[in-house]
Symmetry: C2
C-alpha cells in the first residue's frame, strides 16, 4: 500500500556525520552544495508554463546569504547518491518570504505541499524532501526555547538536534504516530466528516497514538471513542510520513461488528456505515450526494480503495 | 507478538472529557478517586514479604495534598470500568521523594519500571499505567516552558496538554516511533552490542523513525547506517509502548543478503551474524561466551524468539 506522498531514498542522510561540526560547515560552504527554501508549508519551486510540472528551485550558498537567510541554520538533508553534492533546506516564515525586500522576488513562486501532493506535479523524490523539511521546519519553530528552563535552544547537528545554551537540555525532531483505520464489517466501511474538512468530504477514522498505547490499542480506543464500536482484528497494512505537521500515519484494517454507530459529536460532525457501492462512487467522484474522499496521495484513499477492491 | 510490557485496557480514558475543566475538578475532589505517585521512573508500590508480588500504592486526594504534591497537576488516567472510580497519577522527582520531610516516609518503597517489567512482580494492567504515567511525567518535565516564546506552560486537560500563558502555544504528549528489527538472512540474525548496554548483552538493531521516513524506509535506512546491509522485505509484526522515555516500538522482520557486516562503530560496539543455535543458547542463558539477551518484556526478546522458532 503506497500513497503517492512518501519517503525519498535518493539521498544518503549520513546521520552519523551530522554531529561533526566541521564536516557540516565544509558542506555548507562547498560550491557544489544546493539549498531549497521552504516558507511555512510552501517550498519555492520552478514551474513549466501550464504548471503541470514543478520542481524545487535550488539556490547556491551565496544566494541564500543574499536572501537574508541564515546558512548556519540550513537543515542537512543528505548527499545526492548520483553526484555526491550536499542538499540542504532552509526554513523561513511565510511572513518573511512575502515581506522581506531582498527575498520577495526570488521566493515568489511558492506552492502549498497539499497542492503538490494532490496534483502530482512534482517528482516523488523531491516531494519527499519537501515533506521532510516542512516537518523539521515546524519542529524548529516550536523549539526555539528550552522546555525545561526557557533558555535559548541552539541549532545543532545539521538541524537534527537543538540544545539549550543555559541548561544543556537536548531536543530531537518530533514524529507523531497516528493510527488511521478502515473500520469495516466486511461489507461496509465507517467514514466520517469532521467540521474542519472541506464540504462533503468524508474519510476514515484516525487518531493519535497516546503514551501507553500500542497500535492495536490505539485503533480500538479511538474507534470506541469516536463511533462506539468494539474492534476485533487489527492489521497494519502500510505507513506514511505526513508533514501536517510531522506525523507518521499507520494505516490499518480493523474489523467490527455491524452495529449502529454512536457518534462522538465533539470530534465528528457525522459518521456512517457506507456500502462498497457508496465508497466506489465516492472514489470515482460520482456519488449521488456529491460526497467525496481524500486524494491518492493519502493513506485514507489507499485504505478505502483497498476496501473497495475487497482487500479489507 | 505480545511482550509482557504493554498497554492497559482496564480504564476508560475518556479523552473527550479531558478538556472539561469542571468535570476534571470534580473527579479530583471525589472521595472515591485514587492517585498513585511516580518519582522519576519509579512508582510507589506495596510489596509482599519476599517482593515477588507488587502493586501500586493508591493514595487519596487529601493524602496527596499532605505529601506536599499538587492535586491540580494530577494526570487523569481514566475511569475504572469495574467500579467507576477515577484514577490519577502524580509525577514528582526522585529528589523530592527522597528529600521532602513530609513525603520521605510515605514514598519510601519505590521500584524502577525496568525492574517491575523484568521480574513480572506487578499485574500487567498496573504496569501499563505506570508506563503511561512515566511517559507523560517526563514529557511534562521537558515542557515546563514554551518552545516558541519561553513563557510558562500551564497544565491542561487532565495532563494531556500544556498551554503557554503568554503566547497561547499548545503542546501535546509526545510519542516517539522507533523501528526495532530482526534482520535475518533466513538462517542467521544480526545482533549488536552498544556501549551503553550491560556487559555481554546483545540485541536486535533499532533506531528512531525520522521526519520523512515510513516504517520500511526507517528499517532500511537504519540497517544500512548501522551494519551496511541492504534490506529487502520488511514486515511489521507487533508494536509496544516503551516508557524510556516515551517510545512506540515498531517490531519488524527484515530480510537481508548474507553479506559481511560493515559496522558503524560510532553507534555500535559490536555487531555480528548469529546462527539460530547461538540465539537459542543466548535466550536460554547457556551461550558458551555468556552472551545474553533482553528479557521477555521487550520487543527485542519477542523478535529473537520468533526467529529461533522459525517465524522470521
Amino acid at each position: 500500500m503506497k500513497p503517492t506522498l512518501g519517503p525519498t531514498i535518493e539521498l544518503d542522510r549520513l546521520a552519523e556525520k551530522r554531529a561533526d561540526k566541521e564536516y557540516m560547515a565544509q558542506l555548507i560552504e562547498a560550491e557544489s552544495s544546493r539549498f531549497f527554501v521552504i516558507a511555512g508549508a510552501k517550498p519555492v519551486v520552478d514551474s513549466n508554463e501550464d504548471r503541470t510540472r514543478r520542481s524545487l528551485h535550488w539556490f547556491t550558498g551565496p544566494q541564500i546569504t543574499d536572501l537574508g537567510l541564515a546558512l548556519s541554520e540550513a537543515i542537512f538533508l543528505g548527499l545526492d547518491a548520483e553526484d555526491e553534492t550536499a542538499k540542504f533546506a532552509v526554513a523561513t516564515s511565510e511572513h518573511y518570504a512575502r515581506g522581506a525586500p531582498q527575498a520577495r522576488e526570488a521566493l515568489k513562486e511558492r506552492v502549498e505541499i497539499r497542492t503538490l501532493a494532490a496534483d502530482a506535479s512534482m517528482p516523488a523524490g523531491e516531494l519527499g524532501l519537501v515533506a521532510q523539511a516542512a516537518s523539521l521546519g515546524t519542529w524548529h519553530e516550536n523549539h526555539r526555547c528550552c522546555g525545561r528552563c526557557g533558555g535559548s535552544m541552539s541549532f545543532k547537528s545539521g538541524g537534527w538536534k537543538r540544545k539549550c545554551w543555559a541548561c544543556g537540555h537536548e531536543a530531537f525532531p518530533r514524529v507523531d504516530p497516528v493510527v488511521i483505520m478502515a473500520v469495516t464489517d466486511g461489507e461496509r466501511i465507517v467514514l466520517a466528516h469532521e467540521e474542519r474538512f472541506p464540504d462533503k468530504m468524508y474519510s476514515v477514522l484516525a487518531g493519535h497514538v497516546e503514551p501507553g498505547d500500542d497500535i492495536e490499542h490505539a485503533v480500538r480506543r479511538e474507534t470506541r471513542e469516536e463511533v462506539g464500536l468494539e474492534v476485533g482484528d487489527v492489521r497494519l497494512v502500510g505507513s506514511q510520513p505526513w508533514p501536517f505537521p510531522h506525523s507518521l500515519m499507520l494505516g490499518c484494517f480493523a474489523r467490527a461488528e455491524p452495529k449502529d454507530l454512536v457518534v462522538d459529536t465533539t470530534e465528528l460532525a457525522d459518521a456512517q456505515w457506507f456500502t462498497r457501492e457508496d465508497a466506489t462512487a465516492m472514489l470515482a467522484g460520482s456519488h449521488p450526494d456529491e460526497l467525496w474522499l481524500p486524494g491518492p496521495q493519502s493513506m485514507a484513499h489507499q485504505l478505502i480503495k483497498a476496501f473497495v477492491e475487497g482487500e479489507a
